[in-house]
């Protein structure tokens, strides 16, 4: 029962993300736009490129959708509205999101096209850059909560939200989450101008619909993870807990989508240099500072 309710809320959230993305990129707020474009996509013919690796071509978008749904299964929307409350929830979120990489590599290699393949390998290069920047802030958050379960992490923020307690970790995790969801400015895998659409280029019809749906579930799952780890989850004064979760998640998604309009696309070499030379020492400093704070403040 809770599973169905969470999936329903997730579907509503994905629809809102689609409306937000259309509003931000085109400037017009049309509530029925995602429904129309979904129907159009499902009705179009699906071209299959010449000599694809059929196994990877078909399976890639499905793995993306499955991986992101598994990652959304450990997000708590309210104290009892969570699909599965694993004891190692934060780590499981990371493990499920690692399969986004597998999905994009399959989707890149499958269609037997140069642009798609380059897009897939570029996602691997970007993940090498920000993989540590996702795991280390989660470590600092789990240090404060003294547990890896996501509900414990939210409960531990009852006094002070983690965004105030560990602002450095929040910035690093936010940037790395934008990179994992290949949103602009980290959207080299599906670069619209440079790679002619990259990984999305060779897909059309039903498979493109599944790919885009998987991507939106990925964006909303990463926003939900940011809210769970840093913004206090369901905590708030007057409304119901799940309503607070929904408001916070949509706000974080809007910020993630808005930043892309104002920052130029970052080259992969620069991203790797910045993340490894600046980001990882900052993440280690974050862990060190959280450790000191935990010992000093009783």
């Amino acid at each position: 029962m809770t599973t169905l309710l969470v999936l329903l809320l997730l579907a509503v959230g994905v629809y809102c993300v689609a409306v937000l993305e259309a509003w931000i990129t085109s400037g017009r707020f049309r509530l029925a736009a995602p429904a129309y474009s979904a129907m159009a996509l499902l009705g179009r013919e699906s071209n299959i490129p010449r000599k694809p690796d059929l196994l990877f071509f078909e399976v890639g978008p499905v793995v993306l959708l499955v991986a992101t749904l598994l990652a959304a299964a450990v997000i708590p929307l309210s104290p009892d509205l969570i699909i599965t409350d694993l004891a190692t929830g934060a780590l499981f979120l990371n493990a499920a999101l690692a399969y986004v990489l597998v999905a994009l590599i399959m989707a890149g290699w499958g269609p037997n096209g140069a642009y798609a393949m380059i897009g897939g390998w570029r996602f691997l290069g970007q993940l090498v850059a920000y993989a540590m920047l996702i795991v280390m802030p989660i470590t600092a958050v789990a240090m404060r909560a003294e547990s890896l379960a996501t509900t414990d992490i939210v409960v531990s923020q009852a006094g002070l939200w983690n965004i105030v307690y560990q602002p450095l970790g929040f910035i690093l995790f936010f940037v790395a989450a934008m990179g994992l969801a290949f949103l602009p400015p980290f959207d080299l895998p599906t670069a619209k101008g440079e790679l002619a659409g990259g990984v999305e280029a060779e897909y059309s019809g039903v498979r493109l619909a599944v790919f885009r749906l998987g991507r939106m579930v990925l964006v909303i799952t990463l926003a939900a993870a940011t809210v769970t780890f840093y913004l206090g989850g369901w905590q708030g004064p007057w409304f119901a807990p799940w309503l607070w979760s929904a408001i916070k998640i949509l706000l974080v998604t809007a910020v993630m989508l808005l930043i892309g309009r104002y920052v130029p696309r970052i080259r992969e070499a620069h991203l790797l240099a910045w993340c490894w030379k600046l980001g990882i020492p900052l993440a280690l400093l974050n862990i060190f500072m959280v450790g000191i704070l935990l010992v000093v403040i009783p």
């Binding site: 690796d53 990371n94 690692a98 890896l148």
Partner: protein
């Protein structure tokens, strides 16, 4: 006694071995790497079935990234990554088959014919397991943990220094003139 746990262990075990065999039977190199990835994922699922939750999740997470990087290296270094040419890339096939079979039969004989003693039926709750593992890591096995950390650092420095490209002589001369 056939319990749910034994059915799942059997299913994931067969999946792991089947994907492992596919690694060496297929002609496409990227399929080989992704098959190894799914073999390790089935292994991680077996860990989860045996209620070692932290280890299972860790295995699944690490192997996804590692095997994807291995797929990338295969595309870089191998002659026919798409498998369209159907090349035969093995040597001493009979010898390795015999050695593989002998080791398999020996290990299975040891597994079946030794009396392993009383089998424990209850395991601690997963939250308690994670906490106990953490206490063990930083308590009794602190020396092993520290050595693992130093080994990781050494391996990182070694791998980077072996793989980094040396500067060509013209660039070094140019740098010295600028100083």
């Amino acid at each position: 006694m056939i319990t749910g746990q034994s059915i799942f262990i059997g299913f994931f075990g067969v999946a792991a071995v089947w994907f492992g065999i596919v690694v060496f039977r297929t002609f496409s190199m990227v399929r080989s790497a992704i098959a190894l990835l799914f073999s390790q994922t089935a292994l991680g699922a077996m860990f989860l079935t045996m209620q070692a939750e932290f280890l299972g999740v860790l295995q699944i997470m690490m192997m996804a990234t590692e095997m994807s990087i291995m797929a990338f290296f295969m595309v870089m270094f191998m002659m026919d990554p798409g498998g369209m040419g159907k090349m035969e890339m093995t040597h001493q096939k009979r010898l390795s088959l015999i050695v593989g079979l002998v080791s398999f039969v020996g290990a299975v004989a040891i597994a079946i014919f030794i009396d392993w003693g009383p089998v424990a039926t209850t395991v601690a709750d997963t939250a308690q397991q994670t906490k106990a593992l953490g206490l063990e890591l930083l308590g009794r096995s602190m020396l092993v943990f520290e050595m693992a950390g130093v080994t990781i650092l050494t391996a990182m420095i070694a791998a980077t220094s072996v793989a980094i490209q040396p500067l060509p002589l013209s660039a070094i001369k140019h740098k010295k003139d600028r100083v």
